[in-house]
């Protein structure tokens, strides 16, 4: 095999070094590149959620005070069925006017609570406070609480849940 390298400019040793570098790079590439794909692939395949979730009868919610509604969704993550829980505050401003807010703090995703005395949603992590319609009153959150699109069908509230 090494006889091919009989040309005066290329010694047998140099030839074998070139072959080795070449074969080595091929092996490195054929294992290395797939491994990169292997590592990042779960990040590229996330399941989308696009659903209308029922929050029950509109009449079940009091006017003027936010009420928490919790529900879960299950997704497939790898070999597991991951159940995520969601919480929304439903504020009925009048008989038909609603605000539906996610209970996830816009700062670092802690779950906020409605504190009646303060008339505010309070985040337990960094003491942030949000007003009854989600405006930031105090603390580090960068934006108001996230609002859900909603519709009312047959007296039931449905919210539009999207993810991914």
């Amino acid at each position: 095999m090494a006889k091919k390298a009989s040309s005066p400019n290329l010694s047998r040793r140099d030839f074998s070094k070139i072959v080795m570098a070449f074969l080595g790079s091929i092996m490195g590439a054929f294992v290395g590149l797939p491994i990169i794909g292997y590592i990042i692939s779960p990040a590229l395949k996330t399941q989308k959620i696009d659903d209308w979730v029922s929050l029950g009868a509109l009449d079940g919610y009091p006017i003027g005070t936010p009420k928490l509604f919790s529900f879960t969704r299950t997704k497939v993550n790898g070999w597991e069925r991951t159940t995520n829980s969601f919480g929304v505050f439903v504020l009925r401003k009048s008989a038909s006017d609603l605000v539906v807010l996610s209970n996830v703090c816009t700062h670092l995703s802690c779950r906020v609570k409605w504190i009646e005395e303060n008339q505010a949603y309070v985040c337990p992590c960094h003491d942030a406070e949000f007003g009854i319609e989600g405006k930031v009153l105090y603390g580090p959150p960068p934006r108001p609480m996230d609002e859900y699109e909603f519709k009312i069908e047959d007296g039931n509230i449905l919210i539009h849940l999207t993810e991914g």
């Binding site: 095999m1 040793r13 080795m20 074969l23 399941q47 529900f71």
Partner: protein, 401 residues
């Protein structure tokens, strides 16, 4: 080994080294070429041979034939020749001694010579051992009985698809194709029983996967549902029941997002398109017919699991499916009419017994019969061409004002 031999060895080795080559790059070059060949072999095996799919471990499956990894097969095979009372001779004593001899070989073999011509005893013993190992391995491979085939579902999407098929075969008969329940018709012993829907939110939200699994596995015999688990006299393996549960969960529970690849419908037909068995008819049949039209069911011996069966089986094989004839039994009964024999007795009732299938599926069957029952998608496409040809001139005509 005495000192004389030692110094003689060093002399020879020094001479060999003198005439030798450089480790780098000469030796490494050869090594790398061999390693590269092995690398290609590995990639080739991984890509083109792959890994045989195996079902999940089931400690309750008594039918599985245990076999060790191939490089232990020779040992496994050798045990066939050892009587049970002295089993330990074959399992412990002989292998133990062999391993010990191998490890201590340099201390046991006092012969100072290296060339095989001067070590004939040792070399022939080792050769015999190698021949024995290879022989036993071959013998084991040849005598291994075939493993029973089982269905396998990999990802959750595949599980859901497999579950859908199993559901159609085993459950749809009573619970209906979409779990909607209602009055059972055409099932021995359960005729007229009213089943509640099992696809409802009530049902799905209050029953865990484990509960659903147990219901399918053990049945609910007071309510008339027989057990389906292999262990209780049914026909389904654990993994199959899991697939059925996955199908139910991901199809009927709106809290669970069904993986996109798992959404399977029965493909619709375009104007003038001829359906094929492969794509359309088998899908409809699987969903609505096969639960009764399979062996050991009351169905006038008419089976619908394959193309062949659909055309050739049954007491009325000559009349069930007839090319170009819309008066054949399948079409007539799908239109909810009965078939009577010459004495005026009903021999086949409306199909499926419980309720009518969608008009579009009946239309599918009619077009299929009129086109002469094409099996593959290609055959159907060939038959569709005239229709497409007729449509084409129109399509061309319209854009020109």
């Amino acid at each position: 080994m005495n000192e004389e031999f030692k110094s003689k060895y060093h002399e020879k080795y020094a001479a060999a080294k003198q005439k030798g080559v450089k480790f780098w790059p000469d030796i490494i070059y050869k090594d790398l070429i061999v390693s590269f060949a092995l690398f290609l072999l590995l990639i080739g095996l991984a890509a083109f041979v792959g890994i045989a799919q195996e079902p999940k471990a089931d400690p309750n499956d008594a039918n599985y034939i245990p076999r060790p990894e191939w490089y232990f097969l020779f040992l496994f095979e050798a045990l066939k020749f050892v009587p049970g009372q002295i089993e330990w001779v074959g399992t412990a004593l002989i292998p133990g001694i062999a391993i010990l001899v191998l490890i201590l070989l340099p201390f046991i073999d006092k012969n100072p010579y290296r060339n095989w011509k001067k070590r004939k005893v040792g070399v022939s013993m080792m050769s015999l051992v190698v021949v024995g190992i290879v022989g036993l391995t071959v013998r084991a491979v040849v005598t291994t009985p075939e493993q029973e085939e089982v269905s396998l579902a990999g990802s959750i999407a595949e599980q859901v698809i497999q579950g859908q098929d199993l559901y159609s075969i085993y459950c749809a008969e009573c619970h209906q194709p979409d779990g909607e329940g209602g009055e059972v018709a055409g099932v021995e012993g359960l005729e007229g029983v009213i089943l509640k829907p099992i696809n409802s939110q009530d049902e799905m939200w209050t029953r865990t996967d484990e509960t659903l699994f147990n219901i399918v596995d053990l049945g609910q015999q007071d309510l008339g549902m027989p057990p389906y688990g292999l262990g209780y006299g049914g026909e389904l393996q654990r993994s199959e029941i899991e697939a059925v549960v996955a199908f139910m969960r991901y199809t009927w529970d709106e809290r669970a997002e069904i993986p996109e690849e798992a959404i399977i419908g029965i493909p619709g037909l375009a104007e003038g398109e001829v359906p094929s068995y492969e794509v359309h008819i088998s899908a409809v049949a699987k969903r609505y017919c096969v639960s009764c039209h399979r062996p050991d069911k009351e169905n006038n011996e008419y089976l619908m699991q394959t193309y062949e069966e659909m055309l050739t089986t049954g007491d009325n094989a000559d009349k069930n499916v007839v090319a170009g004839d819309l008066e054949n039994y399948i079409i007539v009964t799908l239109h909810r009419e009965s078939i009577f024999d010459t004495n005026g007795d009903e021999i086949i009732g409306p199909m499926p017994p419980s309720k009518e299938i969608k008009a579009e599926y009946i239309d599918m069957f009619e077009r299929w019969v009129l086109a002469g029952m094409p099996e593959t998608a290609d055959e159907a496409a060939a038959l569709s061409e005239p229709a497409a040809g007729e449509a084409a001139p129109e399509a061309e005509a319209t854009p020109e004002p």
